[in-house]
Symmetry: C2
Subunit: 178 residues, 2 copies
């Protein structure tokens, strides 16, 4: 299945030029000594992340939550019943400072999507629990988000998605090792 576009810049593969091609071409012109291949890879990664982040943010709008707030609800949701975690677990999972988590929890608690209660076993700690409304909203929102993501993958065949998956796994490993 490897119809790989080995030849660098011929009329090889389907995809046309995109903004990242324009940028790397400009670099090649002014700094021909640089190997711009990595730039093209990560440039596209950044743009996909940003574009999809914006789209999904917009999809969550109608549920009255921002993306970071969805992430909190989703982390609680996927932890399973009783949908309870500590602020510490949440901030660790979401790679957020504890101060940032305090803010998100404040907003979500005010909106009635979760509640904070004292941890019965550790008086320093709290237990954050999804409310019924929070559960309902996250269960709808996750579907809405997946739909957006699914659409973005429509241009890829099944086997290409799998291939991409494997390559991204390697890329993530390389990007986070040490």
């Amino acid at each position: 299945m490897t119809t790989k576009a080995t030849r660098t810049t011929d009329a090889a593969k389907p995809a046309g030029k995109d903004p990242v091609d324009a940028i790397t071409a400009q670099w090649a012109e002014v700094r021909p000594d640089l190997d711009t291949a990595p730039m093209a890879v990560f440039g596209r990664v950044y743009r996909v992340a940003r574009a999809m982040g914006d789209r999904i943010e917009k999809a969550y709008d109608r549920f009255g939550i921002a993306r970071g707030e969805f992430d909190v609800l989703a982390t609680l949701r996927r932890s399973g019943e009783p949908y309870t975690l500590s602020p510490r677990q949440l901030s660790a999972t979401l790679m957020l400072t504890t101060g940032g988590m305090t803010g998100r929890l404040d907003k979500l608690e005010r909106a009635g999507l979760l509640s904070r209660s004292p941890d019965p076993h550790d008086r320093r700690g709290l237990r954050v629990t999804l409310s019924e409304r929070g559960l309902a909203i996250v269960d709808e929102a996750v579907v809405a988000g997946l739909e957006i993501q699914h659409e973005a993958l429509e241009g890829l065949r099944e086997d290409q998605v799998e291939q991409l998956q494997e390559l991204l796994r390697l890329l993530l490993a390389g990007s986070t090792r040490d």
Copy 2:
């Protein structure tokens, strides 16, 4: 990386589990009705973007610039001599509001890496020009950044990088169309 996580070519799902696998597995448990494949793709994209952003930010530290500031300098640099663009062109290219661009230019001008001068043909406008120091710094910083990115790609063979490139091109197209 460690030993031989590079046996990607066979039926065997090669690379070991990563945090994204854990998340999708959790979702599969509590919501077996969902197709979590898109989540796995974009989850890795987000994580790569964030991890590499952090690394590169750190690499630019020694040049005294933040990543967003590098982007401004880089846009000027790759535009070629005389390294001059308008704030409007910069904010459009970098997908930044004009207010945000004002702030970045303020910082960079204060640091002596660029200068603002009136546009001789349009008295509303400005021309932003890279200073000699700005040029020197961006030329060093771009190499430092590429080095980080190159390292992150070490776990991939040449042909895998090309394949990834093509797939990301499709993904970006799907993520930004409409």
